[in-house]
């Protein structure tokens, strides 16, 4: 089944649904596994012929997994090497492929399901990168799903593996389990109260990595932070998942406390900040991606605190992604330069936040 980009552009993936446990603060939970075929060099040393052969073998394994009764979804296969740049940028914004896969060369592909839970990248940094993403805090079902698909793909191939070091990966930072467990959180109150650095440092001490999410260029994106395991060797998949899962409720609690503090100590300032952000987004005639992300972050917190009543969280979540450059252009159906994009973005925001006379559409 081919992937319909126009249909994909209009909708939004599972992880943007804004449902699932703790979804006011936890945006998404994600697990990825890095795997390589034993009989080929890693990507850095692979010839074009090797890459083509790897792609062929794994393509066949994905097709076979689709046919298996054990696999519930249906993966659509996309030959990334044949995609125009705008479509690749679109998939990056949607978090369905990495920048590395988008920008590299040679045979490479991704398989995605209609709900955008699965993304299986071929010939990225490793031969195979399997990823499962869920809305809210839900690592356990993500693990179950990814474990099953990993087994299915492996049925007819030999993964690079040795008893001592586990799954062998192109980069020693991934060796062992090859797992990266990430939870994306929205932490605006910790940013406003300037506690975010303290939180970062305490997480680093327990071997967890925290990173801001970046949008276009190097601008930090709307107070979103991703917490993930730093190590992959010497602990089991379940232990690594637990390490991340255990810290998330603590972060949620800190963020809630910071929000309560803001409501209690500076209700007017907070309400003003949220209302101004909402006002600008509903009325601007031209707006940059950076400003949009910044303001949407305040609006998102405002909705969760009941300060804004007439927008739903899934709408706000969707706007974060749909106002990014490639999405805007796909939705407009044409290529736009930076200044035209800013106008288009403002129009899109007014339309979806009810700033224009035509009624806001919530999804």
């Amino acid at each position: 089944m081919p992937l319909n980009f126009e249909e994909l552009a209009g909708g939004s993936g599972e992880w943007l649904k804004g449902s699932g446990p703790e979804s006011d603060i936890v945006i998404s939970s994600r697990i990825r596994l890095a795997r390589n075929l034993a009989e080929f060099p890693f990507i850095a040393r692979a010839t074009a012929a090797d890459r083509a052969e790897i792609e062929k073998i794994l393509h066949a394994r994905i097709a076979a997994s689709n046919d298996s009764k054990k696999f519930p979804g249906e993966l659509m296969y996309v030959d990334v090497s044949q995609l125009p740049e705008i479509d690749r940028a679109f998939l990056v914004e949607r978090q369905l492929i990495s920048r590395e896969l988008s920008e590299s060369e040679g045979a490479r592909a991704v398989a995605i399901d209609g709900r955008e839970q699965y993304s299986v990248m071929i010939n990225e940094e490793d031969h195979l990168r399997i990823q499962v993403m869920h809305s809210g805090l839900d690592l356990d079902s993500a693990w179950e799903q990814i474990d099953t698909l990993d087994d299915l793909i492996e049925e007819q191939v030999t993964y690079a593996y040795n008893e001592k070091l586990g799954y062998l990966t192109a980069c020693p930072t991934n060796v062992g389990t090859g797992i990266r467990v990430s939870v994306m959180l929205h932490l605006p109150a910790l940013v406003i109260t300037r506690q975010i650095d303290k939180v970062f440092r305490s997480l680093q001490k327990i071997n967890l990595a925290v990173r801001g999410l970046y949008g276009e260029g190097s601008q930090a994106m709307g107070d979103f932070y991703q917490v993930s395991n730093q190590i992959t060797l010497g602990l089991s998949e379940q232990e690594l998942i637990k390490k991340v899962a255990d810290v998330v409720p603590v972060l949620i609690d800190y963020e809630r406390q910071a929000r309560e503090f803001l409501v209690r100590e500076s209700q007017e300032t907070l309400h003003d900040r949220v209302s101004r952000a909402y006002g600008i987004l509903r009325n601007a005639q031209t707006i940059s991606s950076e400003e949009t992300l910044h303001l949407l972050s305040s609006v998102r917190m405002g909705v969760n605190l009941g300060l804004i009543g007439d927008v739903a969280i899934p709408t706000v979540n969707k706007l974060f992604v749909h106002t990014q450059p490639a999405h805007l252009q796909k939705l407009a159906g044409m290529e736009l330069d930076s200044s035209d994009r800013n106008i288009e973005r403002a129009t899109y925001l007014r339309r979806h936040l009810g700033g224009d006379s035509d009624k806001a559409e919530h999804n």
């Binding site: 940094e125 690079a160 089991s236």
Partner: protein
Amino acid sequence: MKCQKCDKQATFHITDLVDGEPNELHLCEDCAQAFLAPPSSSDADEMMPAMAGLLAQQLAVGETAEELARLDKQVCPVCGISFREFRKQGRLGCPYDYTCFSEELEPLLLNIHDETRHVGKVPKGFGANAEQQTQLIRLRREMKEAVAREDYEQASKLRDEIREIEESRQLPPTEQPPTDL
């Protein structure tokens, strides 16, 4: 002093805390900026290789010049990558590198993971022949080289060896018959 990430002059001397331990970094302006505010890294996955590269470069710090020169010249017999190339790019060439560079990689693995032994999932088909399969990389490379120098006798010998391993690729039977494939 030269920048640890490129060959420019290091003008930034950063003390980074890794697990509460101070860790000295000497970087040029560009690399320091990238380190402090990583550009367009939309997620953790994309940051990790950069970190490994940094760590791989730090390997150099503890070694004497001669020792490092000796290490750098080591070459993987399977894929042909030198240890120096790995140190430069932070990515390995093939699965066998973990075996042939095991001594050199051990301090790096300890630095990254605090551990050197896997305890997680085991592939179902494993035991099969992962390490033998990896030798295919060497055999195919050697065959290509034999063909290039018109040593057809050697090339056909290698081709037979390759076939043999490829035919033994069949994984041990799993419990369920693959009726759903």
